[in-house]
Symmetry: none
Subunit: 330 residues, 2 copies
């Protein structure tokens, strides 16, 4: 989900050359006021010409812009700053309020604050290369509706043709790689699995706990292949995965969100364990399926996932999206 | 997902008494500029005394504050607004930049913008009861498993006993409040509904589009009450809601995530329409149910939601969680 997070993108972009000559503006004083001592620059952005918005987030209040600064390509990132408790008194007394709506005890306003209490963090990458620009670009997603027939005629042939390599998964299952990262293993060939931390999790705190259970069975590509015969496998992963997480991280089942992705990132059955309350990327209803729901659905209808119309987002650059478009299904 | 999000907390608080006397400020003009015609209020917050910060989010740039407005308890919610593409030129030319750091091709600044280009959305709940204050307080969540029997023995009695007021919903359906916010209405008493922007959405950009469809039928508390007889109602909301959004906001169905919450914030049937790719609070798999899935499930099993075990998160201070604990179900 949060592919466009300012922080993640910013983080992942530090590909510039080393900087032997680091200069630094004078640090602002505590309350962010102008006091005449600060490094007020000539406004390098006053002549900035926007070429395009690469991405933005209404939730995080940021925007990534490609444009030109004095004939050089640049990426400018704006992000509003968090609201600080120590500025509230001044904010309330020094601002202008405009009423928008009143209903019962609820009213909403637009508040116009003194600029020094409401700054925007601004990052400039200049000169920016083609690589920077592509990196900051949002890949839009589209919701696709996949019927049973669509799966057979469009999705399955695409998966087979691409023959995405899952050699790295087999390396894990065979202990040829990442063996020391394994948190728990049930070696049973039918219902067994390997549980290990997802790469996204730094394992420094449980607040953003993220583990993956990878089935030993190699013939299940995704949710679409599941039938009632796989219920014991799913139940085993669910039950033993929860127990292993309680034991290792002291996190009870009531704090876990356990789910499968459809479409998955790779076509070998795996299950996601993330902490409830952590906005894990990909935990949205449009892509995630709670394992508890999957088990119930298969118990009451063995062919549930073979026959059901499924919905999922595909990014604009996903080859599968082109296939759906070619088939007139979008 | 984001338990501390301004948005969900705001959503989940609609428990106020009826409002016979609904006043309303003049709607702001399109580009958010001052033009002398707007309803500039006396600053009701200039004398606001903060008692405590109930919660805040550095990621979403919001803060929930408990305090006093003229001796009355109030909750004030501040949230910075998304950065709008159409204001960028004026933002760059009209702002002051302060250099913070320069390293190689990367530099960061603090940008001080003209106040009308950098507003803070402000919501006031006044007078606020102890219940409001508790509700806005940051709280941990727990995943609850609710069987058919749990619903009958624990959840339903709790809902009935609490008799949460939905008078504000009836005000909307009867045009006693928010009538000018209505985007679309189908007045049919059986399958009709009112579509209007959610409070969380400032309607300035479609990136975080969030609308709510409220059914005219008054006897459906939640997902649990739905049977196959409600399929025409759900299909009508889904279809006409998508059409209205395409017409008004030029956003096609492939960019929409349409879902119900279980548990809902209020027990009158309503459907959420949010933009795909916008991490809307409450769109996580643990609380959201795609309307397309709900329709399919009811079509193949009329009693699906009456009989199924459902999973949902409850906050630590939710009375329903205590009931599940007392019953030994957590």
């Amino acid at each position: 989900m949060a592919d466009t997070s300012a922080k993640r993108l910013l983080d992942s972009d530090k590909t510039g050359e080393p900087a032997p000559d680091v200069k630094r503006g004078k640090t602002d004083n505590e309350n962010g006021r102008e006091d005449g001592n600060e490094s007020v620059q000539e406004n390098v952005l006053s002549g900035f010409k926007t070429s395009s918005v690469l991405s933005d987030s209404a939730r995080e209040k940021n925007i990534f812009i490609h444009g030109k600064v004095a004939d050089q390509d640049a990426v400018v990132i704006l992000e509003k700053t968090p609201i600080r408790e120590d500025s509230l008194a001044e904010l309330f007394s020094g601002s202008t309020l405009k009423l928008e709506m009143k209903n019962d005890i609820y009213s909403t306003y637009r508040l116009q604050a003194p600029p020094h209490l409401n700054e925007i963090k601004t990052t400039v990458v200049c000169p920016a290369t083609e690589k920077h620009i592509k990196k900051y670009q949002r890949k839009e997603s589209f919701l696709v509706e996949e019927t049973e027939e669509d799966y057979k005629n469009i999705t399955l042939p695409h998966i087979v043709k691409q023959s995405f390599s899952v050699q790295w998964v087999y390396n894990i299952l065979e202990k040829k790689a990442e063996a020391e990262r394994i948190v728990y293993e049930d070696p049973d060939p039918d219902v067994g699995f390997v549980l290990l931390p997802d790469f996204k999790w730094d394992q420094k705190q449980v607040d953003d706990l993220y583990l993956i259970a990878i089935a030993h069975q190699r013939d299940i590509k995704s949710l679409r292949d599941l039938t009632s015969e796989h219920v014991p496998l799913l139940q085993n992963i669910f039950q033993k995965g929860k127990e292993a997480i309680l034991q290792r991280y002291n996190l009870p089942a009531s704090k876990l969100r356990v789910y499968l992705h459809y479409q998955p990132s790779y076509y070998h059955l795996h299950v996601h364990f993330t902490k409830l309350g952590y906005d894990a990327p990909g935990c949205g209803v449009e892509r995630a399926h709670l394992i508890a729901d999957v088990i119930q659905n298969l118990q009451s209808n063995p062919q549930y996932y073979k026959t059901r119309t499924l919905y999922f987002p595909l990014r604009a650059d996903d080859g599968l999206l082109s296939k759906f478009k070619e088939a007139g299904r979008l």
